[in-house]
Symmetry: C2
Subunit: 124 residues, 2 copies
């Protein structure tokens, strides 16, 4: 009575992990403790608004630990919590699954290389 039977926890997880940034941020934080601008440098395409928002989301979810130091210009450090560290191999497994699928995907449909772009833009 656990395996994908209660779909609710999965919905909650996806609410946290959905989007480009959560898994990426977990990836970078898994390398070690980082500061706000470290993460911005790690990922130059994220805006500071998004970074702040996603970090707060991950913090609330218990995945990221935020530590504030009252030094010169104010310093904040971000790190994975134990729960966040336990999450890493699960995300990892998804990546492995995708690579395995991707490897032999061509046999079904013919093309699987252009999956990346799902442009739904219809207002052009």
């Amino acid at each position: 009575m656990r395996n994908l039977v209660s779909c609710c926890p999965i919905e909650e997880v996806m609410q946290i992990l959905s989007g480009r940034w959560p898994t990426l941020l977990i990836y970078y934080l898994q390398q070690g403790t980082k500061r706000f601008n470290d993460l911005r440098r790690d990922n130059p395409t994220i805006s500071h608004k998004m970074l702040a928002f996603e970090l707060r989301k991950l913090e609330h979810a218990g995945i990221v630990l935020r530590t504030e130091f009252e030094s010169y210009p104010l310093r904040v450090e971000y790190a994975l919590t134990p729960a966040g560290k336990r999450l890493v191999p699960l995300i990892d497994a998804l990546g492995d699954w995708w690579e395995a699928t991707d490897g032999n995907a061509g046999e079904q449909d013919g093309n699987a290389a252009d999956i990346v772009d799902f442009g739904q833009s219809e207002h052009v």
Copy 2:
């Protein structure tokens, strides 16, 4: 050189699984073969446009197999591919992880029950 080292496959997976519907649809399809309106009945809040779009996305990703029968009113069946079935336990693991985290989350922050709502609406 595989474990969360190459972040790209994870980005691709999240591009497919992000959002409310993909994991939910996988959940319902894991119960067995379904037809379009079966899935609509399973999940009344999804619009048919979204359902069609998400199903096509999952189909392109090699997770869902679409079979069209030329019977009287036209009949289409959706089912998980082998790759889709292999994905199920991974999604499952995320749900289990969340439940485990949720169980002892109170020790860190005090409240972890109201994580669900991340209203970012600022234009009210």
